[in-house]
Amino acid sequence: MSGLVWFVIIIVGLLVAAYVFRLAGQAITSNAPKFRDMTFGVAFGYIFGATLFVWATYYYFQPKITGVGTPNAGVIFFRWAVQGFIIASIAAFLFRVFGRAVGTEVTKKLFRSMPLTASFGILVIILYAITAIFAGSIAPYGESEILGAANVLAGGDITAGGDPAYPLGTDQIGRDILSRLIFGARNTVGIAFITTCLAFFIGGSLGFLAATLQGWLDQLLSRSVDVLMAIPSLIFALLLMTIASVWSIKLGVPLTIFMVLIIAVIDSTRVYRLARAVGLNIVVMDYIEAAKLRGEGLGYLVFKEILPNAMAPLLAEFGLRFCFVFLTIAALSFLGVGIQPPLADWGTMVRDLGPFINFAAFIPTAAVSPLLAAGAIALLTVAVNFVVDWMLHKTSGLQE
């Protein structure tokens, strides 16, 4: 209860401070326009921001260890978060500077108008791609190689239950977590990428086909897509995975292949919608008419005339769709029905390592490995979203 009282006191204090701040500003600058026209909300914003900054600085420089010798875990996590944020910002800034100086005219121009969030996104995507491609040579150990000790904690500090040989520790059966994180980039991201491509191939070609041919085929496809979209996608995926798990035993086909197909089909419905809508706007153009009069076949119309003109919206959708697919796969794996062991995968790792978070108050490094696995998923989707957000903003001309 006292927490709530303190909260109210702080809020009221900030409100009073904001009022005083505006009044004082008006008096000192003899009613300069900046203070004269300042609304109360803006004044509160300044005071709130300043208070937050002062508190954060104060908290950052608290000692790492409390008086009785237990680690002050909150401070340690806060320092990591702040350092991570600063390093990420600097890296994004440097990457943008690099992009503005190096490359062709087109890329230079692209980087010139780029916000920091987008350059951060591109940098992260490139790093993930490199990790995924060269996973085999970067990782210190094998993907499912079982090493000496199980449950070694992260940090490499022997007194805190770590081991310098395994910088991020080992999991419950003694596999190196760093190696599994690196291989996870290949498996989780790779499978999500393949699934998205498949979804785009199915949804895109059917959507363009429906837009070109129209008539009964369009009706049939559109109504089936309506029905499929009426079932929440994660629920539908779980239902189909139940059935697939039986089939995979019977046919001897890995469950992962079924998962790729199921998610691709479910997500292709969303792609179909977009492709059809975009396609319908294109097929009424004169150059399509001209191509038809030339006697071009259906394949030429779809892939050589419609596809190039629908590229921009489809690319943005590809980014978003990739995020959804990636999150669905991670969720399925987290629930235990997705990518199957011994393949290294981030969702499964979060599920297996999650309980370690409960020890974070005593040994802060215990929470590192589950948060890194979950954070690896979050970081990539956030990065892709930053880039897509910027692309949409750029193409829609929503400068406001």
Binding site: A230, I231, L239, A330, V337, G375, I377, A378, V382, N385
Partner: protein, 328 residues
């Protein structure tokens, strides 16, 4: 008024047809399992006689179409059958088995409770933040809010859940990290225990609703009547709340209803993280042990809730459109 009633009835009819077709899809999907249920219930060591008995008991010897209608009738009368796990239990002499309906009912009400707690926090918060972001657009506040919401939309739920557990249960023990609620628990305790899952869901849905609110208001700001209000000398706050917000209601209501639909169907992961005894948890457990009757019933309930809420969103946005409410 006549036309609005017609549209609403049309949508309602369409919703029922969709639900019917969805039930067919679910039924066909489940019946494409190799082998049959009797084998699945009894396992490897089943004798042909016992399989035949179970087949007769479950009505598996009937043709597919007849079985669909029997199943549909059962669904409509809330007779959802008995789960395989329970049947197995009965086979080994267990007494006091429960039906799927009895299993699902308390779980569903738990999930509803979680969803309503979340909605009570998230909806006011999202609309307020959205209005503020529109009011102070392109300031540091707006940019920070944009970055924060974009990150929270795109992170997986379990990441949010674990971060919240780390900060509010482990480092500062304010809320419990396990939501083991049960029947007859006092309301305050129940609320406290479901706080962390509710906060996780709030983080996920608030972001979406807030961005939509902001976008809906900002898209109106260029219109002449807003310009007029500004030229009259109204304060920016009044322009947005009294003039822009009522006209932005349709998309906002729409996105709120969509997010409520998400709350009921997308809680699966969050319930699993916090071991919250809701319908999502039941669904995942049944998926893992391939308990078909439960999976089927849960799936249909989820689909029905999803369709219903989408329908509500549709109808509400039609009703909140003044052009349709007052036809010339």
């Amino acid at each position: 008024m006549q036309s609005i009633l017609k549209i609403v009835l049309q949508r309602l009819g369409l919703g029922i047809v969709t639900l019917f077709v969805v039930s067919i899809v679910i039924f066909v999907a489940v019946n494409s399992l190799p082998g049959d249920f009797a084998q699945a219930i009894l396992g490897q060591g089943a004798t042909p006689e016992s399989i035949a008995t179970i087949r007769r008991d479950l009505g598996l010897d009937q043709p597919l179409i007849l079985r669909y209608f029997i199943w549909l009738k059962g669904m409509l009368t809330f007779d959802l059958g008995t789960s395989f796990a329970q049947l197995n239990f009965a086979n080994f002499g267990g007494a006091g088995t429960t039906t799927v309906a009895e299993q699902i009912a308390p779980r569903l009400s738990n999930t509803m409770f979680l969803a309503s707690v979340t909605a009570c926090i998230a909806v006011p918060l999202a609309v307020t933040l959205g209005v503020l972001a529109a009011l102070y657009r392109n300031t540091a506040f707006d940019k920070a809010a944009n970055m924060f919401t974009l990150s929270s939309i795109s992170s997986p739920e379990f990441f949010m859940a674990y971060v919240l557990i780390l900060f509010f249960a482990v480092l500062n023990p304010i809320f419990p990290s396990l939501s083991n609620i049960y029947d007859g628990m006092p309301f305050s305790e129940r609320l406290e225990k479901s706080m962390l899952p509710a906060l996780t869901l709030t983080l996920v849905v608030t972001a979406h609703m807030m961005r939509m609110t902001r976008a809906a208001i900002i898209s109106l700001l260029a219109s002449p009547y807003i310009e007029m209000a500004r030229l009259k000398g109204l304060s920016p706050m009044r322009v947005i709340i009294v003039h822009a917000l009522p006209n932005a209601l349709a998309p906002i209501i729409n996105v709120i209803a969509l997010n409520l639909a998400y709350l009921i169907t997308g809680v699966v992961v969050v319930e699993v993280v916090f071991v919250y005894p809701g319908i999502g948890q039941l669904f995942v457990d049944s998926v893992k042990i391939r308990d078909i009757p439960v999976v089927q019933a849960c799936c249909l309930i989820f689909a029905a809730a999803y369709i219903l809420l989408n329908l509500t969103a549709d109808i509400l946005s039609i009703i909140s459109n003044p052009r349709l409410r007052h036809p010339k």
